[in-house]
Amino acid sequence: MANAEEIQRIKKLAWDLRADIVRMIGVGKAGHLGGSCSLAETVAALYFGKMHFDPKALHDPNRDRFLVSKGHSVLVQYAALVELGAIPREEMGKLKTLGGKLQGHPDMMTPGMEAVTGSLGQGLSIATGMALALRLRKSPARVYVVIGDGELAEGQLWEAAMAAARYKLDSLTAILDRNRIQATGPTKEIFDIPNLEDKWRAFGWNVLNVDGHDVGPILDVLDKATAIKGGPTVIVADTVKGKGVSFAENTAAFHNGAMTREQYDQALVEIEESRRMVQ
């Protein structure tokens, strides 16, 4: 159980990640704001709380792994790695530019990236391979992978789900960022996949639910997932796409939208205000 001080620290950091996501995207340029912002608390809880991860030892074979299968949301991971000092802060201004290290999707040229993702549906398979290898090498490391609710339509994800269950991979935790919006609209209208929890259970997974914007419960649920033995766990995190930036919340418009100067300023003001309100 994390103490109140620790939770407050991570909550603030989550808002810092959002501010950095907005700064990275900048004005007048398309950027995956929505799906990155929905992950801020999850990523903050992992990198600043839960994970065994030393930013000075990015290649430590026993580090916990974190990868974002819905690779377009990597901005939030960049922000966390900047905060940890693994990525130089000045790289943020060079997002998606020639000569910069921060690509549109996770790339091995960037410090701290564990895999190439971005073609949706592949991350859970990669994470499964990692967890199998780590177990074989008797490493205590855990593997965390974020998947999207739109992404769940990819059949490969369910192939991976079956494989991970087949091998009882209890070092593997998938976090489903259930923000209920995909690229072109609400998942309910575009491609509804009902009874998700039942589906995962039927595929042999343990299922936990959490409010994906509440740091305390996120830390608790991550601990719970660690404690479950004998099979993989999926944490269904209910989130808001674009969380924290009012005009980007719950809309596909900022799946990969561009902000005007006014929107950019407003986003940073709102985020700062929310950070200030953190108890």
């Binding site: 690509q103 949706l120 739109g150 491609f191 996949i193």
Partner: protein, 319 residues
């Protein structure tokens, strides 16, 4: 008035086909706003199928439609439409030679910001290697319309490489179109440039620049990458001292390769490729900047022509 935007022209053409023929259906994988299949959705909601982010399933589902008398159009980014679905295209669609139309949108480097995972610079090579597959790469939006008009009758599967952007009009006014046609857009007798897609207009610019230096250059549009009109390629390659191919694609397996394959067995001038070297793309702030990075420019085409011509001079003097 045709929009210069290839995607808009595609979407509008699809609607036109839908009005003409009830067999036309469209399948989408959560990129309809990008591919412009949304235009068809608005007009024919009953014949539009949102398949979710599941391209492989979409491809084989289209095979089912085609086997049941329909003409399905499937949509995604080029990289996923060709790569993610490769085995489904090969087995469900190409082996039985079904009239499925595959729209590979945002082809080449046109999705400049998203980087390697999203930039399709190998799709033509993949698609060209599939027996029965027709591979089309329009040079402007008029050609998109012309190609789409052939889609009701053309037998077998077709892959379209569609760029994201507005492109200059290059298609000769009033020129009748048919799939397979290799069109000469400019006359010239010293060098020949075979271009496809966005590189056709750049080849025309290069030819203009070369003319000011006294080099007479012909420009040929290869918009049907497969089946390639071999006779035409040989004819247009004849009588020049330099041949350059230009494409927004890997130099492995694209039109450069196709032209050299076509010219095999006949004597011809030296050939050089302008294209993406054997590498993946990369994220950039803008499309033009990325094209410059990969030397996909009219300057590079002109420079390549001149280098080849110098080389042949040297050869001549050595001989």
């Amino acid at each position: 008035m045709t929009s210069p935007n290839l995607r808009s022209a595609y979407g509008a053409s699809l609607v036109r086909l839908g009005k003409k023929d009830e067999r036309v259906v469209a399948l989408e994988a959560d990129l309809g706003k990008s591919t412009q299949s949304v235009m068809f959705q608005a007009e024919f909601p009953d014949r539009y199928f949102q398949m979710g982010i599941a391209e492989q399933n979409m491809a084989s589902t289209a095979a089912g439609f085609a086997l049941s008398g329909m003409i399905p159009f499937i949509h995604s980014f080029a990289v996923f439409a060709s790569g993610r679905t490769y085995d489904q295209l090969r087995n469900s669609i190409c082996i039985p030679n079904l009239p499925v139309r595959i729209c590979g949108s945002s082809a080449g480097l046109s999705d400049f910001g998203d980087g390697k995972t999203h930039q399709g610079v190998e799709d033509a090579a993949l698609m060209r290697s599939l027996p029965n597959m027709t591979v089309l790469c329009p040079a402007d939006s008029i050609e998109v319309e012309q190609m789409m008009d052939c889609m009701l009758d053309w037998p077998g599967p077709v892959y379209f490489r569609i760029n994201r952007n507005d492109l200059p009009f290059v298609y000769p006014e009033g020129e009748p179109y048919s799939i397979g046609k290799v069109t000469r857009l400019r006359e010239g007798n010293e060098a020949a440039i075979f271009g496809s897609g966005i590189m056709v207009s750049k080849a025309l610019e290069a030819a203009k620049a070369l003319e000011t230096e006294g080099i007479s250059t012909r420009v040929i549009n290869i918009s049907t990458i497969k089946p390639l009109d071999r006779e035409a390629v040989i004819r247009y390659a004849r009588g020049v001292d330099a041949i350059v191919t230009a494409e927004e694609h890997s130099i492995i397996g694209g039109i450069g390769s196709a032209v050299v394959e076509a010219l095999r067995g006949v004597s011809h001038a030296p050939v050089e490729f302008v294209g993406v070297p054997d590498s993946f793309g990369i994220s950039a702030e803008g499309y033009d900047e990325l094209l410059v990075h990969f030397k996909l420019t009219s300057d590079e085409i002109a420079r390549t022509v001149k280098t080849l011509l110098k080389g042949t001079e040297k050869c001549a003097s050595v001989l």
